[in-house]
Symmetry: C2
Subunit: 316 residues, 2 copies
């Protein structure tokens, strides 16, 4: 294995993928910090909108790693971390390198600008993956395009919801492709509930609603329940099915998928049949792959989906 | 992500898995080296029997990383690397840490003892994953049991062929569980050929032989072809099928699986039907999982196999 800038960037990318979809409406971003001596000090990611950006999380961890100053650990708000680091950095970062999957932000939004923090801390080198939107003049020595393709892939959901809407099919399966019975573990279900908490609409097939009588909320993460579009030609449903009795939720029953218009972050759950029926509106596929006692969230590519589609006549 | 001894050990484990099966009859072993300043200097693995052990590969890379002395890069033989490092280390390793998935060897075999090299280089700290066989007195400061379970898993094939025989089912599929048509890419086929080169017997079903007319050799890696057991009740085969015309190969046609006795490293290739028919003799499952343009070799656990088995009545 070669230990180079691609290696440190790939750690940042892998960390960011763990929070893909969960950073809505922000992009998934990861960041590694390497010390003057080449020590890997931190690998962190942006975890949710409003919380510190990946660079801030990573610089917080790196600062603690270098100083063991426990005060920093109490700072959770982005502005507080910014201020604390700017006040106390004592030039410890001046020969550090930072690897960030996306060019650091320069504007002050819900959180202060990362580019400003990086400049103030006098970080020596910045390695950047994606910079589609603009190219900054950094005071620091900056290198662009590190693992650009993989960093760009990470941004795909963000680009979709920026442009119009993110419509992703959530596919859960075992390693053998089977989906019968209970596929998910408590850990993967928690991840799905965290995704639902951020979605404004969940699309599900009428057959599944009748068979499983689901609630389709985000209770495992104490989150809010999305609106539901039950895709069904048959409009009659037993209204004691729990999903109908979740507060502040709209339930649409229709065989017209244009009801997704006006929503931004849309999850479709279902089987291969549902995948086939919704392929025209779907623009992203996330596969929850279960094997042994683990699960991986895989960004299933168009090619895989085409393969699934090919299998359909044989499998159903 | 926490950057601690588990992190550096996990890099060594992941690197070792890339060569699982290919180190036969040696165990798969990985090794990371971290400098006095905490810089990750090397992550390497043992690649094949007779070639340098993981620790030697890693120390060679680490030495080059620290010194940029290009002479070391010309040394490929284990004894040569040992000698060169012992002569030229100049105490550069004395505050380094080494993370090795298996306790370093203490006996001189095809290659000099790693424990001796580590002592001579005055490496400060040794972090060890597995040490099932014996526990050494290291002059160096040693910590045992780092990610022990994962390091032990890595040794499972080695333990099996040490005890009696390693009988693994090689399963190739796409992410959707489908196996029809051409599943493998040139990269995954090369890996399979490298495995065949080390196997002494390959077990395959009669139906596959008749349908695919395979050669079943290791030509993609210029390797030797294993003996073949065609598992078939029907003994008549068209002898122009290429596998019958590979030099220095024995072909057995039988419906008696006890023909595997006397062989040590046995690969079974085939479909779900073949997996079912050979489950009594199989003691390891390797899944070549293809998705997008990538493939991963996954150590499919018993639970996955049970899941496959459950699927059988429905799927065939």
């Amino acid at each position: 294995m070669v230990i180079d800038s691609n290696f440190y960037m790939s750690l940042a990318i892998a960390e960011a993928w763990k929070y893909q979809g969960l950073t809505y409406p922000n992009p998934a971003v990861g960041c590694s910090v390497v010390s003057e001596n080449g020590e890997l000090l931190a690998v962190q990611a942006h975890k949710k909108a409003g919380s510190p950006h990946a660079e801030v999380q990573a610089l917080k961890s790196a600062y603690y790693q270098l100083t063991k100053d426990e005060y920093i650990l109490q700072k959770e708000n982005s502005a507080d971390i910014h201020n604390y680091l700017i006040k106390n950095h004592n030039n410890i970062f001046q020969n550090c390198s930072i690897y960030t999957t996306l060019e650091p932000c320069t504007s002050i939004g819900k959180t202060p600008a990362c580019a400003n923090l990086i400049n103030k801390l006098k970080i020596k080198k910045i390695y950047i993956g994606s910079n589609d939107r603009y190219q900054n003049d950094f005071n620091n020595d900056a290198r662009f395009g590190i693992l650009k393709q993989e960093c760009d892939e990470l941004l795909e959901p963000f680009n979709l919801w920026q442009k119009d809407k993110f419509v992703f099919f959530k596919w859960a399966q075992r390693l053998d492709g089977s989906t019968d019975g209970v596929v998910s573990t408590i850990k993967s279900r928690k991840n799905v509930h965290a995704m639902r908490n951020l979605c404004d609409l969940l699309v599900i097939g009428g057959g599944t609603v009748r068979a499983d009588r689901p609630t389709l909320d985000a209770r495992l993460v104490d989150g809010k329940a999305p609106d539901i579009l039950i895709y069904s030609r048959q409009k009659e449903f037993d209204k004691t099915i729990p999903l109908f009795n979740v507060k502040s939720r709209k339930v649409i029953i229709s065989d017209n998928l244009s009801h997704i218009d006006g929503y931004k972050n849309i999850m479709i759950e279902g089987s291969k049949k549902m995948m086939e029926l919704t392929k025209e509106i779907t623009n992203f596929y996330l596969c929850y792959l279960h094997f042994a006692d683990k699960f991986d969230v895989i960004n299933a590519k168009k090619e895989d989906i085409i393969s699934w589609m090919k299998q359909l006549p044989k499998r159903i």
